[in-house]
Amino acid sequence: MLRALAHRLGQAVATAIALATLCFAAIHALPGNLALQVAAARFGDERVTQEAADRVRRQEGLDAPLALQYGRWMAGIARGELGRSLVSGRPVAEELAHHARFTIQLGAAGWLLSYVLALPLGLVAGFRPGGWLDRAAGGLAVALASLPSFLVGIGLVTVFALGLRILPPAGFRTGAHMVLPALTLALSLAAFSIPVVRDAVVEARAAFFLTYARMKGLGAAAAFLHHGARNAAIPVVTFAALQFTLVIDGFVVIETLFNYPGLGDLLVKSLVARDVPVIMGAGLLVGLAFALVNLAADLLCLWLDPRRRREAEP
């Protein structure tokens, strides 16, 4: 337990240091005058003057020696100061909190929906391995895994927003706006969870104790429900937690596609505008969330499976 905790914590700190250094290096290795670019982003391309750039340079401390700037940079991050957005001038923490809410909603909805799809499909596939339903579900999973999430999204928009005209194609005002992005995310995730559910069911059903339960006269469904379901749940639950990390991968592209104002959208927009404090903050938040979810998955795994607990203890 403690070892898992220490490992993930170390990983989170290393991520933060690497990310901070990467961002710092990027700011200073980039071609072009940073102060001028910031001024252009802040005041518009036409109204950039040398004075404006100088003012930005002084305000943001861009005129100090490099080592000093790096020290300030790292110290600021260690204190949890993320600074202000170079573009909007608002505190980075405020921007992140605003956008993170949307991402959490989308991520949770997509993740839940993916299991609404994957659990029944995986169950029916696993109950008759090699049957037509199994092959169909397997084929569907392979096909979905070969589609980048934005292609899934474009397909859904074409059918539901342009063809049937029953859902809005982009934006975020109402609940209906959530449906297509969440469904896109869910389908991309289900590509990986369908086979996991299916394999878990097949494995649990092949166990000797299940054969015994059938021999003593229980029906197939009752035997599985009472003796197999819990065993089948272990890999599925572990994977479901791990898969939350895939949500992080998917949401950047999906939010951009649907113009959904979450963290991914913020990250991409600030990358385009080279708004380094926001990039850095968003990267840190995503990296920390990743470490946390991994930690939660580790702990859940230990809790679910007593066999592993014994292994983990020295």
Binding site: L22, L30, A143, T158, L162, T245
Partner: protein, 268 residues
């Protein structure tokens, strides 16, 4: 007739490499030439897949995009697999300290979720081919290094390696003759699946506007370019989408049959 999975996979890899090289030559028209009198034309005899929003031939653009989407994916996987193999062999062959250095570096990279590292590098260093390749390379080498290290370590303990050592062969001959072939064989399915992943990553970066930029006919960038015109031309958007889907699907089927399993690999 059944073809053995390794042959099939090798054949497919060759076909995709050939497509990447020959695609642009097969393009019937200039993929960059605009014709503003013929924008968003539906598919017809002159333009088989129609024209895009500035009148460029979509078929030519999809074919001309092959070296960007496929070639760069093959290149980035080749680079990552080479780095990973090299570092994995070094780790397996150089005591606890050497392995710790390599594996901690791998852990550091794996602490970044999926696309994020490539996204940050491409985005922060201004997009284009080099930052994108560097980002993909950086993000992908650890999985190959881990696999190479695990395979090499177990191979080094085997009887035939011990025999070669006792027969007086120098360490580098043993690595080259006995360990490397085994490592490459275990890495092959991973590399084939990885090429599909890389195609998707390159397309995603292009789509986000952080990879290759228009007017380069890279498939992801093409899609994001054409997306506002989806209602007028579904075929034009579907063409690069289908190209991505077909190549990734072929690669993942080949990778899976080579790995001896019909199911997607579990994540990490």
């Amino acid at each position: 007739m059944r073809i053995a999975p390794p042959r099939r996979a090798a054949g497919l890899a060759a076909a995709i490499a050939a497509l990447a090289c020959l695609g642009p030559l097969a393009a019937p028209m200039n993929p960059l030439e605009q014709d503003l009198m013929r924008v968003m034309e539906p598919p017809g005899a002159r333009h088989w897949l129609g024209t895009d929003h500035v009148g460029r031939d979509v078929l030519s653009r999809v074919l001309a995009g092959a070296p960007y989407s496929l070639g760069l994916a093959l290149l980035s996987v080749g680079m990552s697999a080479s780095t990973g193999t090299l570092l994995g062999l070094v780790a397996a062959n150089s005591g606890a300290a050497g392995r710790a250095v390599v594996m901690r570096l791998a852990d550091l990279v794996l602490a970044f979720p999926g696309l994020l590292l490539a996204l940050l590098l491409s985005g922060l260093f201004g997009g284009g081919v080099l930052p994108m390749l560097a980002g993909l390379h950086l993000a992908m080498w650890p999985q190959y290094a881990r696999m190479a290290d695990a395979t090499a370590t177990s191979t080094l303990r085997e009887g035939h390696v011990e025999a070669a050592r006792l027969a007086g062969f120098p360490e580098w001959i043993i690595l080259l003759r006995h360990v490397l072939p085994r490592v490459l064989r275990t890495l092959a399915p991973l590399a084939i699946l990885g090429t599909g992943q890389a195609i998707m990553s390159i397309a995603a970066l292009g789509f986000l506007g952080l990879g290759l930029r228009p007017p380069t006919p890279e498939w992801g960038a093409m899609i994001s370019d054409l997306l506002p015109f989806l209602a007028e031309g579904v075929v034009q958007v579907a063409a690069p989408c289908a190209a991505i889907f077909a190549t990734v699907l072929a690669l993942s089927l080949a990778g899976r049959s080579l790995a001896g399993s019909s199911m997607p690999p579990r994540v990490r």
